[in-house]
Amino acid sequence: MAKMKIKAKEKKGIVKVKAMFTSLMADKEEAIKKGISPSYIRYIVAKVKDAVVYEVTMSGFMSENPLVKFEFKGNKGDKLTFTTIDNDNKTETDTQKIK
């Protein structure tokens, strides 16, 4: 399954974005409880034409499969690219056209 789901819609010059990332968001404490190895997203960045529109640093405090919502001024047809870095420095990237 895809690691992330992105939805970006433009209306009157404002692009509303919703994105959901597949991750257990299990920090060290939770991982010990569940008997798994820690796995959480620690950094998310969203870019349009190499310009950063959203950037956040997080850790296990976020709930499983974190959902982010934000809006910015943008145009239809541009490509929105999300990049996440997890605790093992593994990078995931996905791109979605703004509708």
Partner: protein, 403 residues
């Protein structure tokens, strides 16, 4: 659709059977059927011959010699007896709305994932969460790992909540739901929660497509993009990951036979087949050569508790307060409520001025007032059980305390 349904079908069958018996049977002496042999271990030793082996500790009694335990079987022919009438075609069609997994019964219509997205946002997301992710107290529709173990069982369905903080089984459409056609019929018949049956068939197809897409379902190997259009033909082709996770197969004319065969082999399909009622740490495993079930006891029992554990429910013993006089005690019980302060308009005990003006009337008058009542004060302070002498001693105490 769900596992429970398998059970309820069986219960339904047995209910039908038992009601039929109740309707036809009537009591007779039980002695006539109490003669069969009880040689085998699964045969009953009760008043009626029968054997264990029905589901969940149930008993099967034979129907022989026109009897079923104490009940006489009705063996009259039912030929020529009709109940009600044959439904008209319209009545049948109004009732026959389900859609089989092979697509039979699905209505015409089509809807795209993108249309479904908009509908979902408007009608569903407030309860089922964005992207079907749940989190609002209503079922999660998408998500959950769809990986399977070596037996073909979805791993996240085997989650057990043994300790706080552990995950429950993930029961989304992608991990749990067996047939996609029921997804359509369920949405059509029961959703949106606030106004069910308000969506058209096209909209229902769109919503079905959106939920399938969110679960990453592929139809005929084709990934469901935003432009993907779902219709009856394509929906019938969907094979959900947990398609084979339900057993036995209850569909079709072979259904009841499958169910019977499944429960006949209890040891393999359900467990050891013996219901454990005591020392159930390891039920049924002793027979398989395992050692005796281990009893778990409390390791560190707290015994040195002060005061010690007790099941006695007495009130603590009442001790006589020797420092106060009998009169003061009676005053505390019957008079103090009003006379402890001047808030109730009564002269407060200890208030020299107030009691000075009271005692001006003379002791006999004060006593008479307290016995008969005066102003807001009820006779004897409201406690009728006091004798005149007791009232007198109380009044003396109150006057003495206020000098």
């Amino acid at each position: 659709m769900f596992k429970l349904d398998h059970k309820s079908i069986l219960i339904g069958i047995s209910v039908v059977a038992s009601t039929a018996l109740l309707l036809t049977g009537c009591l007779s002496s039980p002695s006539s059927t109490n003669s069969s042999a009880k040689a085998q271990s699964n045969e009953l030793t009760g008043p009626y011959a029968g054997k264990l082996g029905a589901i969940d500790g149930g008993v099967i009694y034979p129907r022989e010699n026109g009897m079923y335990t104490a009940y006489v079987l009705n063996e009259q022919s039912t030929e020529g007896i009709n109940h009600g009438r044959v439904p008209t075609e319209n009545e049948l069609n109004a009732w026959n709305l389900d859609a089989l997994p092979d697509g039979t019964g699905l209505p015409e219509g089509e809807g795209s994932v993108e249309e479904g997205d908009e509908l979902y946002e408007a009608n569903c997301a407030s309860c089922h969460g964005d992207f079907g992710g749940g989190g609002h107290g209503y079922p999660q529709l998408a998500g959950g790992n769809q990986d399977k173990d070596e037996n073909g069982i979805v791993k996240t369905l085997k989650n057990q909540r043994l300790e706080p903080g552990m995950d429950a089984p993930k029961r989304t459409v992608g991990t749990f739901w067996p047939k996609a056609t029921t997804l359509f019929t369920y949405i059509r018949d029961a959703m949106p929660y606030a106004h069910p049956k308000s969506l058209s068939n096209d909209e229902n197809y769109a919503l079905t497509a959106y939920i399938l897409a969110q679960n990453g379902i592929k139809i005929d190997g084709e990934k469901m993009t935003d432009e993907y259009v779902l219709n009856a033909e394509k929906l019938a082709k969907v094979v959900l990951p947990n398609n084979d996770g339900f057993y036995p197969n209850i569909d079709g004319p072979e259904g009841p036979a499958n169910v019977k065969a499944f429960f006949a082999d209890r040891a393999k399909n359900i467990g050891a087949g013996v219901r454990c009622m005591t020392d159930c740490k390891d039920p049924g495993m002793e027979a398989a050569g395992a050692k005796e079930a281990e009893l778990v006891r409390i390791d560190y029992e707290m015994a040195d508790v002060v005061p010690p554990y007790s099941t006695v429910r007495d009130l603590p013993p009442e001790s006589e307060d020797v420092t106060i006089s009998k009169a003061e005690k009676m005053y505390n019980e019957s008079c103090k409520l009003c006379h402890s302060s001047d808030r109730m308009g009564a002269p407060a005990v200890g208030d020299v001025q107030a009691w000075g003006s009271v005692t001006k009337k003379g002791f006999d008058q004060v006593l008479r007032n307290s016995i008969d009542g005066m102003g807001g004060m009820p006779p004897k302070g409201g406690n009728d059980s006091l004798t005149s002498d007791e009232v007198k001693s109380i009044v003396e105490f109150m006057i003495d305390s206020s000098k």
